[in-house]
């Protein structure tokens, strides 16, 4: 089916041009990186874009760097790049795990992490890891640059804190100062490519600080702060898990949709929280199961 929407296309070579263009066009210009979401929207006439600004010719945003404990992911970095990165695998395994559950190879070869969080659907696979790693998003506009913490990024379903004149430059993640273990779990209708019915990302450290993020269980991907607070300093056992689940239930607000009923989401949220925590604990103390194993529930 041809794309009937009409738009201009600019492949910008400099940031100055990119930002000037974005500033002039505002929300009428859409950023094109991997295009795996955007082209679908255009073809199905769900986007009113009058111009696409292709970032793939811009310098400095196609790589992953790790300096002074900060991982910087450029706006053009794809999920395949993340999966192939030994740095990501070693230091940010939850992001590495989540990346592998994104669509399939041919999509991951194009789809970017930046695009994933700009689309900002409640089921965004990368959101959970970015939330637990306290990511910061670097935004540029003609006159300023600013950092937005990931927890303030998602402002509603498909809505973000980014202004129409801004372009996402990169995403930064700080390597946790102490030893951590983590787990990413995605509930999908089957093992193959799917949008998450629910997802959980958890980390824990030596002081029993837990970080928990969930997807598809509220209008935006979120941290479960109350559950984290309850668990802080506690050992993971059946009793604490049961209590944690009760608190978690007050933090989620799932809906029924095509992919899952609300009831199943609530039921599985509790199952997945337990399993994710148990898995992270096992990884922390025993080093098993290895990262990349059993991510799909």
């Amino acid at each position: 089916m041809p794309i009937t929407a009409e738009f201009e296309y600019e492949k910008v070579k400099t940031w100055r041009d990119a930002l000037a263009l974005k500033s002039a066009k505002g929300s009428a210009a859409k950023i094109l990186a991997g295009g795996t979401d955007l082209i679908v929207l255009l073809r199905e006439n769900h986007s009113s874009a009058q111009m696409l600004i292709d970032l793939k010719g811009l310098p400095g945003i196609s790589g992953i760097s790790f300096k002074n404990g900060v991982l910087t992911i450029g706006a053009n970095v794809t999920f395949s790049d993340l999966i192939k990165s030994q740095t990501v695998k070693k230091y940010f395994p939850a992001l590495w795990e989540a990346s592998q559950t994104v669509a399939s190879v041919g999509v991951r070869n194009r789809a970017t992490v930046a695009g994933n969080i700009c689309s900002a659907v409640p089921c965004a696979d990368s959101a959970g890891p970015l939330l637990v790693y306290d990511a910061e998003i670097n935004l540029l506009s003609e006159n300023e640059s600013r950092k937005v913490p990931i927890e303030k990024w998602f402002t509603g379903p498909k809505k973000t804190a980014m202004e129409p004149k801004e372009i996402l430059h990169s995403i930064e993640l700080k390597y946790p100062s102490s030893k951590t273990a983590c787990a990413y779990l995605k509930l999908s209708r089957y093992e193959g490519e799917d949008l998450a019915q629910a997802s959980f990302t958890v980390t824990l450290d030596c002081d029993k600080n837990y970080k928990i993020a969930f997807g598809s269980l509220a209008p935006t991907p979120r941290r479960a702060y109350k559950t984290e607070k309850f668990l802080k300093g506690k050992k993971i056992n059946e009793e604490t898990l049961n209590e944690a689940c009760k608190i978690l239930e007050t933090e989620i607000s799932p809906i029924s949709d095509l992919r899952s009923s609300k009831e199943y989401r609530i039921h599985m949220a509790k199952v997945m929280l337990k399993r994710a925590l148990e898995k992270a604990v096992s990884r922390y103390y025993k080093g098993i199961p290895h990262y990349g194993e059993g991510m799909i529930e």
Binding site: R189, Y190, L258, Y264, H267
Partner: protein, 793 residues
């Protein structure tokens, strides 16, 4: 005149072996074409710069009157050439019942129904034009539930049902939404229930499903200046399409000889490309625009909502059995959600109504299979043709009855399984069947009776075994034919119109001809058909072409062989009863040294001593029609006819691991034993089993079509209609071939294509119950349903 001709002498002694080609695991004759992307599908064909493009204007309502169609804005769009509406094509069409119009007449009956179409110079302009056509509707209350549709107060989807022409074996109920009611009655079921020690009654639900061939439907039509209509279609049924096109276009003076349908390779069929669906638009548009080829492609969403869908059904079963395990009576009522038009789907209902007893000997039987109009997309053929649907309830019920009787469910099936000669639901007698052998082999393969424990404490393992049968559903006079012609080098072309839809038909036909004519498969070319050049085939559906088309090919090969023998007898004065074929040559039993290579005579004849030539190009002709079949029985009981040519039977088994918390299911082992009579190519039969089972498991584990309260399909894409990926394969599939020859099949063969899919739903439902004692009576049996059922237990 006696002809004396020299022939090459051969010292090799004559050897009589079994089969040379039949029963062998040969590689596909279309393999390289597909693997190198040389294979062309309909949308791959080039038509040059004159090609025009069409797009459909579709109804947003499930049921509405069309008040006005305004095409003026569309015609102003750059590139738009013409807008065609229903008033241009006022004639009804249909395969078994004429209840459809090319474009909606004054009423739309499902969301997505075509109201008009726009012809333009580019696909973009066509789409823009379609969006610019303004249609005023008066919305009506839609009929969305087949059971509620039976209510006297329900609106009627078709007011004029009584006037619709249909085949004589349909029984529409005028003034209702019942388009066809197949009643099958045998014995005395009331008495049967009285004899029963246990009676079990329940209702099962099966939703609608989509075929999801990866290639969407496509059609190109060219009505040339001479009045000849050529259609390139992605079709399982080029001849039936031609016939249906004539039905719709005859008022324009277009007859069979004026229409030529050319079918390329098709990217999957599964029944979805049988009959005529969107192709009618291509034909109509071509006729309305003489001289230019017009292409219409369905997009994926249209593929879901405006081709045939597998019908949904609500089934009510009442079964009675004695404590010894003998089924004494079965009452089975099926309420089919057949959709807005039933021109094909009503025959699915018919097929189920004739066979819903399953492969069991049941003396007292009452089946009511009701084809009910609803304002949902038209139902139609889908691999299994109604059998998957009724088997879900029936085979679930078999396990439940066995439990009530405290009899092992496999034993219960063995006690009741049908055997050769048993009286079928409609009175005729059962063909040879290896069902008992199939059950035993599956039972052994899944270690039935041995409880398996999962290594994971959160998981349980369940097992199940179910039986299946299916007959081709076709008109009694559905026929096949074949031409075989030799080439100079002794190679062959086989011309058939059975379609290669992925199942391997071309290869199997080559193997059959190879067996008779002793020409290696590598020297045989078989291609997809062109109705002007290839001989007739009714349709490639119902798992019947190996049998029907295979018989025609075998007869054509025998005919060619006879012509060869006649020629050799005439030229060499050898009694033809002494002749036989071997290694591309004619040999003689009484003259071991006689050897005449095909390449020496099959085109150019045999040269006599006087230097003249005898013979000429060797060709064979074969046809096949099941002359014993009849669709006419008593309308109230179904007794008296012989509507089904034979049944293929078998059994399937499952070892399923289930996560007790998430409901996630993993198929550890799936087994299917099918009695194919004779596997012409065992590897291709196994391919059908492995592929068909995954398609079947998908319908029970992941897929279903979801409609909202307005009758709109809300998951018309692969993002939310989940067909399995490579990561969703069973851990192991064990195909088992049983061979109880079909007396009238080529080398004893009968079809297997659909049978590999139909037992899968009850397999999963029964294995879930075996593991967790949770009974899911509504398909699909998703992990969500299993988890929530367990959770609320």
């Amino acid at each position: 005149m006696k002809l004396k001709i020299k022939y090459k002498e051969e010292k090799k002694t004559v050897q009589h072996s079994d089969f040379d080609a039949v029963g062998k695991n040969m590689n596909r004759v279309d393999g390289w074409e597909k693997i190198t992307a040389a294979a062309r599908y309909t949308d791959d064909l080039e038509f040059g710069p004159a090609l025009l493009y069409a797009a459909a204007v579709e109804s947003p309502y499930a049921f509405a009157k069309i008040k006005k169609i305004d095409i003026s804005a569309a015609l102003k769009i750059d590139g738009v050439l013409k807008v065609v509406t229903g008033k241009d094509f006022p004639h009804k069409f249909g395969l078994y019942m004429k209840d459809r119009y090319v474009f909606a007449d004054d009423t739309v009956r499902f969301v997505g129904e075509q109201v008009a179409a726009v012809v333009a110079k580019t696909p973009e302009a066509a789409l823009k034009g379609a969006a610019a056509v303004k249609v005023d509707y008066q919305e009506l209350e839609p009929v969305l539930d087949p059971v509620k549709a039976l209510d006297k107060k329900s609106p009627l989807v078709h007011e004029n049902l009584k006037d619709y022409p249909h085949v004589p074996w349909f029984f529409p109920q005028a003034g209702t939404n019942i388009a066809h009611w197949r009643k099958t009655r045998k014995g005395d079921w009331e008495k049967g229930f009285k004899q029963a020690d246990q009676i079990l009654e329940d209702t099962y639900f099966v939703p609608r499903y989509a075929h999801c061939a990866i290639e969407p439907h496509s059609v190109i039509g060219l009505y040339d200046e001479s009045g000849r209509l050529t259609m390139w279609t992605s079709s399982q049924s080029p001849f039936t399409q031609r016939n249906v096109f004539v039905g719709a276009l005859e008022p324009f003076g277009i007859k069979h000889k004026d229409i030529r349908v050319i079918s390329t390779y098709i990217g999957g069929g599964f029944g979805g490309k049988a009959g005529v669906s969107m192709e009618i638009l291509g034909a109509a548009l071509a006729v309305s625009f003489k001289g230019r080829p017009i292409k219409l492609l369905w997009n994926r969403a249209q593929e879901f909502y405006n081709t045939y869908q597998r019908q949904g059904v609500v089934t009510k079963i009442k079964m009675g059995a004695t404590k010894e395990g003998k089924i004494t009576a079965l009452e089975y009522t099926l309420y089919w959600d057949a959709g807005a038009y039933v021109e094909y789907g009503a025959n699915v209902v018919n097929a189920a109504g004739l066979s819903a007893s399953g492969p069991y000997r049941i003396d007292n039987l009452k089946i009511d299979s009701m084809c009910i109009y609803t304002n949902l997309p038209p139902g139609g053929p889908y691999r299994g043709f109604g059998y998957s649907e009724f088997l879900f309830g029936l085979e679930s019920h078999m396990d439940r009855m066995a439990e009530k009787l405290k009899i092992d469910p496999v034993k219960f099936r063995k006690i009741n399984a049908i055997s050769e000669g048993d009286t079928l639901p409609y009175g005729a007698h059962m063909n040879p069947t290896g069902i008992q052998e199939a059950i035993s082999k599956v039972e052994k393969e899944i270690k039935w009776g041995v409880k398996e424990k999962s290594k994971d404490k959160n998981k349980e393992i369940g097992k199940s075994l179910v039986c299946f049968w299916k007959s081709p559903a076709m008109p009694p006079n559905a026929s096949s034919s074949a031409f075989i012609k030799f080439n100079e080098d002794g190679s062959l072309n086989i011309l058939v119109s059975g379609m290669e839809i992925g199942q391997g038909l071309l290869t199997v036909m080559a193997q059959i001809a190879s067996e008779v004519l002793k020409v290696p498969v590598s020297k045989i070319r078989v291609e997809t058909p062109d109705t002007d050049r290839n001989p007739y085939e009714w349709q490639t559906v119902g798992s019947h072409v190996t049998w029907g088309c295979g018989n025609a090919v075998k007869r054509a090969a025998l005919d060619a062989r006879e012509k060869i023998f006649d020629l050799v007898q005439r030229v060499y004065c050898i009694d033809k009863s002494d002749l036989y074929l071997e290694s591309e040559s004619v040999r003689c039993k009484t003259k071991p040294n006689f050897r005449l290579k095909f390449s020496d005579f099959v085109i150019n004849g045999i040269q006599a001593e006087d230097h003249t030539f005898k013979g000429g190009p060797i060709m064979g002709v074969g046809m096949f029609m099941p002359e014993f079949a009849s669709a006419i029985g008593d309308p109230e009981t179904g007794q008296g006819g012989h509507p089904n040519v034979h049944y293929t039977t078998g059994a399937a088994g499952l070892v399923l691991e289930i996560d007790k918390e998430s409901g996630k299911m993993k198929i550890k082992k799936a087994v299917l034993a099918v009695d194919c009579g004779k596997a012409i190519n065992p590897d291709l039969v196994k391919g059908q089993i492995v592929g068909g089972m995954l398609q079947g498991f998908a319908t029970v584990l992941y897929e279903d079509m979801r409609f909202d309260e307005k009758g709109r399909l809300i998951n018309p894409n692969f993002s939310d209609y989940k067909i399995p990926t490579a990561k969703d394969m069973p851990e192991k599939v064990v195909p088992i071939i049983v061979e109880t020859p079909q007396p009238d099949g080529p080398y004893g063969a009968r079809g297997v294509g659909e049978h590999t899919m139909i037992p899968c739903a009850p397999l999963v439902a029964n294995a879930v119950y075996d593991a967790l004692k949770v009974r899911i009576k509504s398909m699909p049996v998703t992990k969500e349903k299993v988890a929530l059922a367990l959770f609320s237990k």
